[in-house]
C-alpha cells in the first residue's frame, strides 16, 4: 500500500515536472524589429512580438520574468514582460547598445555601446546609469565571471579584451587577441575567459589569474575557405566539458573539448550562424542563423542538429527562459 502510494507520488511529480521542461526561447530578429517566441519542446514559433529598432543583444532575468533587449537604433534597452510579452519598461543604455551581460546577482547590466567606445553599467532596479567605462574602439563582446567580480569587454577595432573590476569600474588588464573580437564567455569555474575573434578566425583562451592567452583555438573545415570561418558566439556547458562556437558564414557550430582544446565536431546549421543559447536542462543548444532566417536546435548529448525553425528576418541573439 505504502509502496503504491510512493509510486503514485513519483508518477505525480513526474507529470508535474513534464510541463516545466517546456522552455521558451526568445530570438531577436535584427532586420524586421521583432522578437520570436519559440517553444523549445514543440520547436514551433508561438508568437512574434514587435520590439524597438534593430534588436540585437537579448538576455533574461534570473527569475525568468523579464527579458532585456538591446534596441540598438532606439538607443535603449527594452524590458519585456515574459507573461504578457509586452514592453513594460525601458532602461537608459547610452547610444547604440549591441550586446550586454547580466551580473550573476541579476541586479546590474553591463552594456557595450558600439559607437562611443564605452561600457555602460546600469542598475536595473533604479533604472539609472551607475558608471560609464571608456574602453577600446567599437566595444562589443561582454562577459562576466561567475563570482561577479570581473567583467570583460572586447573592442572590435582595438582587438583587445579589457578586464574590468566590477567594484571599482576600472580596467585592470588589457589582453591583445586576434582581429575583431566578438564575444566573451567565462568557464563555469571562472578560471578562463574564452574570446572569439571574427576576422582572426580564432578563439583565445585567457587565464583569469594571469590574464594571459594560454591557448588559441583554430578551426579548419574541409572544402571551406579560411576567410569564411568567423567565430562569433561562444557557450560552455555547465559542467565545463564542452564549448560551442558559432562560426558565422561557415554555417557550422564547432564543438570543442575544453580539456584538450581540440575541435571534436562541426555541426551543420543555417547560414551565418551568430549566437547560441542552452536550454536550462543543458540538453539542447540553439543557434541563430542570420542569413537563412532560422534557428537550429542541436542535441547536446549527440551534437547532432535536430531541427531548424524559421523565425523573423536576420535572427541575431537568443535566450532561453530559465523555467
Amino acid at each position: 500500500m505504502h509502496r503504491r502510494a510512493c509510486a503514485l507520488a513519483i508518477l505525480a511529480t513526474g507529470f508535474m515536472a513534464g510541463p516545466a521542461s517546456a522552455y521558451m526561447a526568445y530570438v531577436s530578429n535584427e532586420k524586421d524589429n521583432t522578437m520570436s517566441v519559440v517553444d523549445t519542446t514543440t520547436m514551433q514559433v508561438v508568437k512574434t512580438v514587435n520590439v524597438g529598432q534593430r534588436p540585437r543583444g537579448i538576455t533574461i532575468s534570473h527569475d525568468g520574468k523579464h527579458i532585456y533587449l538591446c534596441a540598438s537604433d532606439d538607443d535603449s534597452i527594452e524590458v519585456i514582460d515574459t507573461a504578457s510579452l509586452e514592453i513594460v519598461d525601458t532602461l537608459p543604455s547610452g547610444p547604440d547598445p549591441e550586446l550586454f551581460v547580466l551580473s550573476p546577482d541579476g541586479k546590474t547590466l553591463y552594456v557595450a555601446n558600439e559607437d562611443d567606445n564605452l561600457v555602460t553599467v546600469i542598475d536595473i532596479e533604479g533604472k539609472k546609469v551607475l558608471a560609464e567605462i571608456p574602453v577600446g574602439v567599437e566595444p562589443e563582446g561582454m562577459g562576466v565571471s561567475p563570482d561577479g567580480k570581473t567583467m570583460v569587454n572586447t573592442s572590435e577595432t582595438t582587438n583587445m579584451a579589457h578586464f574590468i573590476d566590477t567594484s571599482t569600474h576600472e580596467i585592470t588588464d588589457n589582453v591583445l587577441v586576434d582581429a575583431r573580437p566578438r564575444f566573451v564567455e567565462f568557464t563555469p569555474d571562472g578560471k578562463q575567459a574564452w574570446v572569439s575573434a571574427e576576422i582572426g578566425g580564432t578563439v583565445s583562451v585567457i587565464d583569469n589569474q594571469t590574464r594571459e592567452v594560454i591557448r588559441k583555438i583554430t578551426f579548419e573545415i574541409s572544402g571551406l575557405r579560411a576567410e569564411s570561418i568567423q567565430p562569433v558566439g561562444v557557450r560552455i556547458t555547465a559542467d565545463g566539458k564542452k564549448a560551442y562556437v558559432a562560426l558565422g558564414p561557415a554555417n557550422r557550430v564547432a564543438v570543442i573539448n575544453t580539456q584538450t582544446y581540440e575541435v571534436e565536431k562541426y555541426v551543420l546549421v543555417g547560414q551565418r550562424v551568430w549566437q547560441l543559447a542552452f536550454t536550462p536542462d543543458q540538453k539542447t543548444i540553439i543557434s541563430t542563423n542570420g542569413v537563412s532566417n532560422d534557428i537550429t536546435f542541436i542535441d547536446v548529448a549527440t551534437d547532432e542538429p535536430v531541427q531548424s525553425v524559421t523565425v523573423g528576418a536576420l535572427p541575431w541573439g537568443v535566450v532561453v527562459s530559465p523555467n
Binding site: 572544402g223 571551406l224 554555417n251 551543420l268 546549421v269 543555417g270 547560414q271 537563412s292 537550429t296 536546435f297 542538429p305 535536430v306 531541427q307 531548424s308
Partner: protein, 291 residues
C-alpha cells in the same frame, strides 16, 4: 470456326497431366532460383566490387565537389540542413537498385542466349512464379549491395537514425521489385546481349538523372518546368523518395502508391510478355540469338 477445335489440338499435343504442386515444391523452386543468383553474384567478385564502387565514387567525389553548391536546403523529410552527401545517399541506394534491376534483365538476355532460360522456362511451375522467383533473387542480391554501401557510407559520416536502417528495408524491397520488374519487361524486348547498351542510354541514364536522386526537385523546377514534369512522370523519382522518407522513419504515401502500382503494372506486363501464347516471346522466336 477454329476455336472449338483448339482444346482437342492442345490435348493432343500435351497429354501430360498437371500435377498439383504444394507450397513445398514452390519453395524448392524459389530456393533454387535465388541460390543460383546469389551464387552467381558471389562468384563474380568484380561485379560486387563494381556495384559498390559506382555509388561510392558518387559519394566520395561527386558529393564533395557539389557540397557547397547544393548543400543547403530544408525539404521534407529533413528537419534541418543536411550535407550534400547525406542528401544523395538515398538516391545512390536507388541507383544500386536501378543498375541491379537492369543487370538482372541483362542476365535474362544472357540466359536466353546461352540457353539456360529454356531450363527455367520448361519447368512445370507457372510462368509467373518463375519470373517472380527470378525477381526476388535479383532483389535479394541488390538489397545486399545497398546495405554494403550503407555500411561504407556510415564510416564516411553519412548516418541515418538507427531505426531508419530497418525502415528502409521494405522500401528497398518494393523499389527493387519495381525496377526488377521493369528490367524483366525490357529483357523480353531485347533480342541480343549487345542491345543492352540501349537500355543504358534509354532507361538507366534518363531514369537516374531525371529524378530527385542528385538534386531536389524544386531546383529542377527552377531550372526547367518541363524537366520537372518529366521527373514527376518518372517512377524512379518515387522509388528514391520512398527510400529517402523511410530512412527517417516516415512513409511518403504518394511514393508508396506509385511504386506499388508500377510494380504490379510492370510485373503484369512482364508476365504477359513472357507468356509464349500471347507475349512478345513468340514473335521473337525466329530472330532469337540462340536460334
Amino acid at each position: 470456326m477454329s476455336a472449338p477445335a483448339m482444346p482437342e489440338k492442345v490435348a493432343g499435343i500435351m497429354p501430360v497431366k498437371f500435377e498439383k504442386f504444394g507450397l513445398r515444391h514452390y519453395l524448392i523452386c524459389l530456393k533454387g532460383v535465388v541460390l543460383r543468383e546469389c551464387l552467381r553474384f558471389l562468384h563474380q567478385r568484380e561485379r560486387f566490387i563494381s556495384s559498390l564502387v559506382r555509388p561510392l565514387i558518387w559519394l566520395f567525389i561527386f558529393a564533395a565537389g557539389f557540397r557547397q553548391v547544393l548543400g543547403v536546403s530544408i525539404i521534407p523529410p529533413y528537419k534541418t540542413y543536411v550535407l550534400y552527401e547525406v542528401y544523395i545517399t538515398p538516391g545512390l541506394c536507388g541507383m544500386i537498385l536501378l543498375f541491379s534491376g537492369m543487370q538482372s534483365s541483362l542476365s535474362m538476355v544472357y540466359d536466353r542466349e546461352m540457353g539456360n532460360m529454356r531450363t527455367l522456362l520448361v519447368s512445370p511451375f507457372p510462368r509467373w512464379f518463375l519470373l517472380v522467383s527470378k525477381m526476388l533473387a535479383g532483389v535479394s542480391v541488390s538489397i545486399a549491395q545497398v546495405y554494403a554501401f550503407l555500411i561504407v557510407a556510415w564510416f564516411w559520416g553519412v548516418k541515418a537514425p538507427p531505426i531508419g536502417y530497418l525502415m528502409v528495408l521494405p522500401a528497398l524491397f518494393l523499389s527493387g521489385m519495381m525496377l526488377c520488374a521493369l528490367g524483366m519487361l525490357l529483357s523480353s524486348m531485347i533480342k541480343q546481349l549487345e542491345n543492352f547498351a540501349g537500355i543504358m542510354n534509354f532507361v538507366i541514364f534518363p531514369g537516374y538523372f531525371a529524378s530527385p536522386a542528385l538534386y531536389p526537385l524544386w531546383r529542377i523546377q527552377e531550372a526547367s518546368p518541363l524537366l520537372y514534369k518529366i521527373c514527376l512522370a518518372n517512377p524512379f523519382t518515387y522509388a528514391v523518395e520512398l527510400i529517402r522518407f523511410a530512412f527517417y522513419g516516415q512513409i511518403d504515401w504518394l511514393s508508396l502508391g506509385v511504386v506499388a502500382g508500377c510494380t504490379v503494372l510492370f510485373l503484369a506486363a512482364a508476365i504477359i510478355a513472357y507468356d509464349p501464347s500471347r507475349g512478345l516471346m513468340t514473335r521473337k522466336q525466329d530472330t532469337g540469338g540462340n536460334a
